[in-house]
């Protein structure tokens, strides 16, 4: 009897391991708690939906895929732990994460384990300057964004500019880059350059101070929560100045916080919004997302996480292998103009996405985001 149960147990173990070998494990490292928890929730929704769709079609390279989510809390320390857990689970690929500093804490852990990491919202320049073979990102870099910001500021004929950031790696990087690009320009004078403290509700002090320098435009490089409050409080002060934001202000919640009247006329830079994507793939995906979750995705970064998953699945299918070395080589060299949800995707040797991604948007009277020509 003992022997029989042993055999049965052994069979179960074999079956179990055979079963496990049939899935491709995809890690998703996302901020499920903390200040960016809303981003993380959508990243998970997008990846879960894509995995469902792929599995319904029979998976990739003959295997089903399995998405394992780990919470990075939007904090570097938590991210390092999350990365170690994912590495211990022997995932092939990790999608994520959102914040640059958070991604940075996990980069080496994945690279040492030869796990491919595709970040979706980490735009800090230095992340891809380290020569890590297994790191790629579907979002563009800050210097790319700063170029578009400087162009837009010149195009709108701004003579006196105020730049406001929030001392985060991303916001300060973008502010510094833009300042550097405009420094040589005689036509644009930077009259104010400073940082606010995120998560405070009252920004009237900084608005009052900026107002005294009489800029024609305020370029705020921080996040949408603060941007909404800045717009609302500037309106309450009866200060009529043009605001422009970086891509972290791209979120419909901005309009909710500021109110439609205060947010009308606000410019921001962003990768194209899902609704402005012409491809049939994107439209079909948005329809499926809306059907499953009741509303279209709010954040472009969640969609960029989806694109990360899609390119990896494409590479696994094309190489017919889960050997991360082969897959990474394919992504760097052979993947050309893959039809992503956010436009065509190719990577350069550093792992950066190639091509112009940023667009300029303006908020209209109804609070809708309108793509500027």
């Amino acid at each position: 009897m003992k022997r029989i149960s042993f055999v049965v147990l052994a069979m179960f173990i074999m079956l179990g391991s055979a079963h496990a070998a049939e899935t491709v494990k995809i890690g998703l490292m996302a901020p499920m708690t903390g200040s960016w928890a809303s981003e993380g929730a959508e990243m998970k929704q997008v990846c879960d939906l894509l995995a469902e769709q792929v599995n319904a079609k029979g998976g990739v390279a003959g295997k089903k895929i399995e998405v394992i989510t780990e919470d990075d809390g939007g904090v570097p320390q938590t991210a390092a732990l999350a990365a170690q857990r994912l590495a211990a689970l022997k995932v092939t690929v990790v999608i994520g994460t959102y914040g640059s500093a958070v991604t940075e804490a996990s980069q080496n852990i994945f690279d040492e384990q030869k796990i491919i990491q595709i970040a979706n919202g980490s735009t800090a320049i230095r992340l891809t300057e380290k020569g890590l073979k297994y790191f790629l990102r579907t979002c563009p870099r800050d210097d790319e964004q700063a170029k578009v910001a400087a162009q837009t500021i010149r195009k709108l004929g701004v003579k006196k500019l105020a730049i406001l950031h929030d001392n985060s790696t991303y916001a300060k990087g973008l502010a510094d880059e833009t300042k550097g690009l405009l420094a040589a320009d005689k036509g644009v004078e930077i009259v104010f350059f400073d940082a606010l403290t995120p998560k405070e509700q009252d920004y009237t002090t900084v608005l009052t101070k900026m107002k005294s320098f009489q800029p024609e435009m305020v370029f705020f490089t921080g996040y949408y929560g603060e941007a909404g409050l800045l717009l609302k409080q500037a309106k309450q002060m009866n200060w009529k100045v043009t605001f422009m934001g970086g891509d972290a202000t791209n979120n419909p919640d901005l309009v909710k916080s500021a109110g439609k009247d205060a947010s009308a006329g606000f410019y921001f830079l962003s990768a194209p919004l899902p609704k402005d994507l012409p491809s049939e793939d994107a439209k079909a995906f948005l329809a499926a997302f809306t059907k499953k979750y009741g509303n279209p995705p709010n954040s472009i970064y969640a969609v960029l996480a989806g694109d990360g998953l899609r390119v990896v699945l494409e590479a696994i299918a094309k190489t017919n292998s889960t050997d991360t070395g082969k897959v990474a080589d394919y992504l760097h060299k052979n993947l050309k103009d893959f039809p992503g949800l956010t436009g065509k995707i190719s990577f350069n040797e550093k792992g950066d996405r190639v091509g112009e991604v940023y667009r300029v948007y303006k908020v209209n009277e109804e609070g809708l985001f309108i793509l500027q020509p």
Partner: protein
Amino acid sequence: MEQFFQQLTNGLAVGSIYALIALGYTMVYGVLKLINFAHSDLFTLGAYLGLTLLSSLLLVDRLGPLGGALVLAAMVMGLVAVAGALLDRVAYRPLRESPRLSAVVSALGASIFLQNTIMLIYGARYRVYPPDILPKASIHMLGVDIPLVRILILGASVIMMAGLFVFIQKTRIGTAIRAAAIDQGAARLMGIDVNRVILLVFMVGPALGGAAGLMVGLYYGQINFTMGWGYGLKAFTAAILGGIGNIPGAMVGGILLGLIESMSAAYLSFAWKDAIAFCVLILILIVRPTGLLGERVAEKV
């Protein structure tokens, strides 16, 4: 000069919120020598409860803006007071006889629990109060436009603080609270039910914190489950600045901290305003280690 007055009103508005929250920290510390880290999350809870009640009961439509806001404030304060009492019962009272460090750990745990509960119930995204609840009028004074709501908020917090001061100084229950703060053992011997006093402190402090949360929600409109952290830290600082355990000290400390912040932002660097505020705190503590109005600690030595 115009900028000065504008920044003065900015500082007063922020400072009065700090002061209201600081009262919760200082009252609990005064009686229990415990820093109630979960207090900032009760503040957040106040903001969220306000939103829920506002949108579900349509108070403003029924009672007009001012009456609606008053009823709303009373309901929020009552509910947050109950939450505060529950917090004491669940997280602190079982540890009353344990070393103080255990209670501090429990406080941190309660804070994380509350914050994440709010996130799970209301979601992680920013929530926004319906606009146009309060009148948008503003008063032109000393060359600056001051929104009427700001004046109302400042007035409401001053009234609440004054009410608390009278309650603590002039009533029998207030005397019991003060007695328990000075010496719990002796207070017990005098026939004061110290556990009831503590319960009361855990209701009054959170009620004021909840009212502050509601005011932040009503005025700034945007609330988030992590909003308590920043305000809590500043309010805690304000409590220390004024002398922790001392009720008028928390009021003075809060207003002062708001003013230091806005003035250093105006005339020095905005990015450095927190650094400057904390430098001032350190300087004051070097000169007066017990804070501006805190003297009781010396008596106990």
